[in-house]
Symmetry: C2
Subunit: 330 residues, 2 copies
């Protein structure tokens, strides 16, 4: 029960998700019991669904600014810690949180635990491309990476793209500063060789134009580069809009043009709306963990829950474990 | 005499630059002598300027794809090698090339040589922001960096921003994945501490939104991250345009809107035209080296020559040497 908007957004989202999923899933709502009960009572049609929704009392709150590892040690009654413990005990298959990315990642690694063979869980996020979207892994779980981590980000991302995103034969590329195998820093040169040897769907290095052309379904990056890239691209759209508005200024002709274009601009912006994709999976843990954006809307949380159900049905964690085992990199 | 368009663009650009600079500068044109003479004869008003323009025969060509270090060893008669040697011998103060970035960087480091105290020269490029432009250093000279390299990128970028770009008291920020000092990978955490201690105008870490808000005049990054970021942002604009055109499609109302907006869109695009800024300086060598984009237009080359003259007049290399000396980092 996290996120900037709290239960007022998450509870109706859960009700909406249950309406969509029917008896394919049960939902546990974690947070302050009284608040959750009130919200649930307020939600339309909640009564008819109540059987599929259970409340778990977890009143503590982990702030976005708190140091992740110490926060999950201290706040045993926070939704993030309680949810991770339920997953460890096999009480839930999937866990959705709009809380602190760092704390969810720490809970996934330290409480739920990594899948056998996975060196580091990685966070996957979608980037829009000419061919729809691609997945970029890792976008921030690991600031310092080794080559084998990048190999595994590629493989875990491929499994997710093939299953939840429905991309049969999903391809994997390495974000780099040149096309040739010898390009890049030491990390990317070594990761290139590992991907070439162990990842069957590897298509080579990707530069800016390749990323947006959708040359690969999965874009491999270390968590530092991935996070920098994601945040820059998230901010660039807004910057372009501000710059363009300034340019148009009070030019009447341009203003009329803008008015006529408005519906197209709205449809266009929707393609870049992260809410549509329902959050970023933390791949590599013993259960499917979905990190929703802190500012998630109701529809974003509903989609995140649907994605969690889909990923569980597609057995994403089991498939990742099997694929990593097959790679057998020491 | 490099670049995709060759002498047909570079020669008229040099003539134009001389017209602008008058007797403040002399220009040497490096390349195949016959070709250059033909182009110079073709340029209008060349006769009146001829006294300020000299031709240096350097007929070999280094391809974009060649390994930089071996190319400059083998092709002693290429413009890049001959130009670098002229700089080493004190025959020129500045050197502009639209040739291979890797080869120019190698020639700057291995032939011209680094300024005393500079560990690694870095390439600076401009990024558009809400406040005009910022400078990002390094965008590709160094794929693997140490903390002291990042500190020096910041200081060298500041000198360039204060002089050539006219930003008095230019500020320096570190591209990172969080605002707090402890955020980031090992490299950025250590670079943060060095910048805090030695760079007087350091303003802290920058995330995506800070970059485009123009929070710092100079953005410090290692050459891998800087290059990835630059190429992604260069490609993103084109991608947005393609996506938007597809959205508008054959909707008549939207098409009319687009027509009315066209002049504003053109003015807007100009802000993102790298040609206006005249190329990327390779900072830290014993002379001012400007790397122009391979696809540079005539105006871009003219601007690059003007920037080279301005940087020489402002004594950029000497100021960098003095500033780095003052830092006294072992």
């Amino acid at each position: 029960m996290g996120g900037d908007h709290g239960p007022a957004v998450v509870v109706p989202a859960a009700v909406q998700a249950m309406r969509r999923l029917g008896d394919r899933a049960r939902v546990f709502l974690l947070g302050d019991e009284t608040t959750l009960k009130d919200e649930l009572a307020r939600s339309r049609a909640a009564a008819t669904l109540r059987s599929g929704i259970e409340i778990v009392h977890a009143p503590e709150h982990i702030d976005m600014g708190e140091a992740p590892a110490s926060a999950i040690r201290r706040k045993k009654h926070s939704p993030i810690v309680v949810g991770a413990e339920m997953m460890r005990e096999g009480e839930v298959d999937a866990f959705v949180s709009a809380g602190s990315t760092g704390a969810v990642t720490a809970a996934g690694t330290l409480i739920v635990g990594r899948l056998r063979g996975v060196a580091r869980p990685g966070i996957a996020a979608v980037l829009p491309t000419d061919r729809g979207v691609s997945l970029i892994v890792d976008v921030g779980a690991n600031a310092d990476c080794k080559p084998v981590h990048l190999l595994q980000f590629g493989t875990m991302g491929r499994i997710y793209a093939e299953t939840v995103m429905g991309r049969k034969g999903a391809t994997v590329g390495l974000l780099n500063i040149g096309e040739e195998p010898k390009k890049g820093n030491e990390l990317s040169q070594q990761a290139y060789q590992l991907l070439l040897r162990h990842e069957p769907n590897f298509v080579g290095n990707l530069e800016g134009r390749d990323v947006f052309a959708g040359k690969a379904d999965v874009i491999v990056a270390d968590g530092f580069v991935g996070n920098v890239v994601l945040k820059l691209l998230e901010s660039f759209g807004g910057f372009l809009l501000r710059s363009f508005r300034e340019e148009v200024g009070s030019d009447l002709r341009a203003m009329l043009g803008g008015l006529l274009l408005k519906p197209s601009i709205r449809d266009f912006s929707r393609r870049f709306n992260y809410a549509e994709y329902g959050g970023a999976p933390l791949l590599g843990c013993r259960g499917l963990i979905i990190i929703a954006h802190g500012g998630s809307s109701e529809i974003a949380i509903t989609n995140a829950i649907a994605v969690a159900e889909r990923g569980t049905r597609d057995q994403v964690p089991q498939r990742i474990r099997d694929a990593i085992e097959k790679e057998q990199v020491a």
